[in-house]
Symmetry: C2
Subunit: 201 residues, 2 copies
DNA sequence: TGACGATGTTACCGACCGGTAACATTACGT
DNA sequence: ACGTAATGTTACCGGTCGGTAACATCGTCA
């Protein structure tokens, strides 16, 4: 008897196939690492055929590009969501961002900053994915500097850099330190301290 | 004519072969990532035969174990070198560590914290390499807490956690931010600020 | 109905991966 | 001088990688 009956041939149009593939890539690339995940795993997760991937995306590298863009969009969504809570108080907006970041990074499913992970995965600084990461971080530093200025910091650039270091630290620590150390619990207070110190005349 | 003459068969004893293999692994695993480097690349770099590797190390995983131990020793060497400069001034010792860290992380050949990189490379928290990393970080936090206590901080655990976040941030930022942003230049001053603020009565 | 374009399926390619067996060669103790 | 143990060399294993060709099947529209 045939216990391994073939699943019915399901047919999806190109657009939904591309969407499912991107969803699968976002999940797997983030959770396992883009270099650790093969295209076969992506199509399996997406429930589509391998040829459907290569008819929608020219290569795995292009899929990686689309993944990075999605992560970028998602990241700025997080930032905006935090900042919008305090549209007229830049210092409060900064504090809000760190509180929300500590919340996110404490989630057990959190796997660190996707851009930090990319930087680790690809050794060459000139790799297109690394360049994408550097752009994202540059924009983040610019946003932090702008907020520090609006908050009235004496040295906005210095405050922004200090906060940027803290942010990267939260990303990395979420993966390196065991959860029991509760390192992230110190994140909001430390950020508050830096912000407050930057305001003193 | 034979333009591709075989290199002479050089023969090295087991101990020096093992040492050369470990040196090669340390270089390559750190620079390219342990998962991105194959055993063939290691033996090529070491200038030994592949069988010499598998006669000295039971598997690539054991080579990874030895690599981690080497990196751990090297790391605590860095720490001790900084702290020994101020044996009777814990606050100064902490500041010294951050100054030295900023120096190291600013080197163009720097490829971030080897333990952070391991945490990115291996998704499962239970993987032996991840456990090793968590142990290293736990010991670092303990050392920081001890120093914060000796320095007279009001809340040593809080200061230690803040400094630990900054350290992880420096590691990650060295790879994610473009060198032009000079984010690391803000590291010593930010650490000094946290240390000073923790002393206020 | 029939034809055409889009999709699914299978099989395959060359390259690399970690790891090993079999054998050639060398160094060294007796 | 000879035998033995350690080392070097070659070839290979099964598995996975990114990517593709060939063909079967489907939906759609004339």
């Amino acid at each position: 008897m045939n216990t391994t009956a073939k699943p019915p041939r399901t047919i999806v149009d190109a657009d939904t196939a591309a969407a499912r593939i991107l969803d699968a890539a976002e999940t797997l690339f983030y959770r396992e690492g883009s270099r650790n995940v093969g295209v076969d795993a992506v199509v399996r997760e997406a429930g589509v055929n391998k040829m459907s991937l290569y008819r929608q995306f020219s290569s795995k590298d292009e899929l990686l590009r689309r993944y990075l863009q999605r992560r970028d969009d998602r990241f700025w969504g997080y930032v905006d969501a935090s900042l919008e809570l305090h549209p007229h108080d830049a210092a409060a907006a900064l504090r809000q961002f760190f509180a929300d970041l500590a919340e996110r990074a404490g989630n057990p499913a959190y796997r660190g900053c996707p851009f930090v992970n990319i930087a680790v995965e690809y050794p060459e600084r000139e790799h297109f994915a690394r360049v994408f990461v550097a752009d994202n971080k540059r924009q983040l530093l610019q946003k932090l500097t702008e907020l520090a200025t609006r908050a009235g910091a004496r040295d906005p650039a210095a405050l922004a850099k200090g906060l940027a270091l803290l942010i990267e630290g939260a990303y990395a620590a979420s993966q390196t330190y065991a959860p029991e150390t509760e390192l992230l619990s110190a994140l909001p207070a430390t950020a508050d301290l830096l912000i407050a110190a930057a305001m003193l005349s």
